[in-house]
């Protein structure tokens, strides 16, 4: 039990560290989102699961697993919202990016903001 918890925790913190490394090394926002939104929740989720296993209590393990499920559900949504907002604010892409399908449109991603809805 203790070994499983140790392996989960070290694997999780390794994922977290590599996600942060991706945040530094990748050339633009859109590629950085890949690193942070995939490796990040898995890393911290694995550490949570390791903490649950280490406690040796079934209820604590359930809570930790629920935390992992919540992270895996919400982080892609947050990343998608952020990518959409950045695309709309014309965040620059790296020079190696080959296709920009919104290059010639005046409004890259049409959205209704709450302000527009109330008007």
């Amino acid at each position: 039990m203790s070994y499983a918890a140790a392996i989960l925790m070290i694997a999780g913190s390794l994922f977290c560290m590599l996600a942060a490394l991706g945040l530094i090394r990748f050339p633009d926002l859109y590629t950085r989102l890949h690193a942070a939104a995939k490796a990040g929740p898995i890393g911290s989720g694995l550490i949570l699961l390791g903490a649950g296993v280490a406690s040796g209590d079934a209820f604590t393990l359930l809570r930790a697993a629920l935390g992992l499920v919540f992270l895996v559900l919400t982080t892609p949504i947050a990343a998608h919202l952020l990518a959409r907002a950045a695309m709309r604010a014309r965040a620059p892409a790296a020079s190696i990016a080959s296709i920009d399908e919104f290059e010639n449109s005046s409004d890259p991603v049409p959205v209704q903001t709450p302000g527009q809805l109330s008007r």
């Binding site: 070290i10 949570l48 406690s55 930790a64 992270l71 949504i77 604010a89 965040a91 903001t113």
Partner: protein
């Protein structure tokens, strides 16, 4: 055994926090900084969970879950702020 594992976890998470803070300072776009803050929240969850193992207090896991909730809401609000800012 578990002490050594939590020490290694703390060290790796510390490196991750340092790298993420570098991205937070450098930017260059505001969305990069928001992404760095989101990553910092996830690293915080990892640190709190590791602390829960180190102190053998399962209550810290609840705090980590709450931080996950808060991080999602914060990122969603920042994304909405980015959208609104462009609309003006």
């Amino acid at each position: 055994m578990i002490e050594i594992a939590s020490d290694i976890s703390f060290a790796l998470l510390g490196v991750g926090v340092a790298l993420t803070l570098w991205r937070l300072v450098r930017g260059p776009h505001l969305a990069d900084r928001v992404l760095a803050l989101d990553m910092l929240t996830m690293l915080g969850i990892g640190v709190i969970a590791t602390f829960a193992v180190r102190t053998a207090t399962s209550l810290y896991i609840d705090i980590a879950i709450t931080l996950a909730l808060l991080g999602f809401v914060a990122t969603a609000a920042f994304a909405r702020f980015l959208l609104e800012r462009r609309a003006e």
